[in-house]
Symmetry: C2
Subunit: 203 residues, 2 copies
């Protein structure tokens, strides 16, 4: 019963477990209901049964509540690349590793959650900025991973950006199609299109 939940939260408010998750859920719901800008932090914390100050202990700013868990992406990327066969060149590694890596990163989040989250982000330029930064951090981790594998600076940077760009476009297409071809398949399709485009001879 909603009544019981609310009562328990309001009564035992202090130290109820899952504060972070409650904040994420309340924030996403409110952003969908009334928009990101129109939602204040006190509104989020009130729905989660917490105080404003606590919100900023869990998230650096109001936008970060939509990007929880992504801070581990760079180190996961680094581990993934360190474990890959050293013989693989940059483009080979992207071709063979991007799809499984992306599948690992996105596992555990439902398609419905991803779609609702994207709707909020796409509606707010400030949130799109933050999302671009997240991808940028991922690109930096990729670049470092390539360099650790002996790839020269420029090639590492290019390969990292190509990988992230492909992933971003593939995820967009995947969500546009409501997940119909699964993400790995969409990534490989996008990679194929990228190859075809860049291999076009210029007469």
């Amino acid at each position: 019963m909603t009544w019981r939940v609310i009562t328990r939260i309001s009564r035992m408010g202090r130290w109820q477990p899952g504060a972070r998750e409650r904040l994420e859920q309340a924030a996403l719901d409110l952003f969908l209901e009334q928009g990101f800008t129109e939602t204040t932090v006190p509104q989020i914390t009130a729905r989660a049964g917490l105080t404003t100050r606590t919100f900023f202990r869990h998230f650096a700013d109001k936008r970060e509540v939509l990007f929880a868990g992504e801070e581990s992406v760079p180190e996961r990327v680094a581990r993934f690349m360190a474990e890959a066969p050293p013989s693989l060149g940059p483009m080979e590694l992207i071709t063979k590793g991007l799809a499984p890596a992306a599948a690992e990163i996105f596992e555990g989040r439902s398609l419905d959650y991803l779609l609702r989250r994207r709707a909020v982000i796409d509606a707010e330029p400030a949130l799109r900025e933050r999302e671009l930064r997240k991808f940028s951090l991922m690109s930096e981790a990729l670049e470092q991973g390539f360099r650790d594998r002996g790839v020269d600076h420029l090639t590492a940077r290019l390969a990292a950006e190509i990988a992230v760009t492909t992933l971003r476009i593939a995820v967009t297409r995947w969500l546009d199609q409501h997940g119909d071809p699964d993400l790995p398949a969409t990534i490989n399709q996008t990679l194929a299109a990228m190859r075809h485009l860049t291999n076009t001879p210029s007469p």
Copy 2:
């Protein structure tokens, strides 16, 4: 009615002309002296001889003062692509058009200004976010331009991202080398490296 336009432009302000430019100069100087976060808007306006309220009439927020003039980039991109020979494919257009287009966009700004501006942006994550957004807007304009030339949706998106990525990396390298090989040459080098990377066969 050309004389009317000129008159309006020459009358830039209530007391002293060039309010916008003074704000940009004061902001860049202060950001370099004491950092972006440590600089308040009242400090900028005090140095420029204006008030806080006036700052936000010229710039949407504190970060935008470093990106003045870039709001015209998307439409300039659109015009550039509309004027290009329709026979050129996406990759041909990038190969032949990116360098001159970039040269046009960056003309009139001194290398010293660009280097100091980059130092400020690189030191502040919030400013890097905004810069990523500017490139994203440029990419959207490019994508629309490709689609207007009859390119399919996915290829247009890929080509736009490749062009922007190449430009970004080339500008970074160009500034790293203090402008030694000029920007068009650096862009073409970067494009060559991109071609070489993506054309690598995967055994």
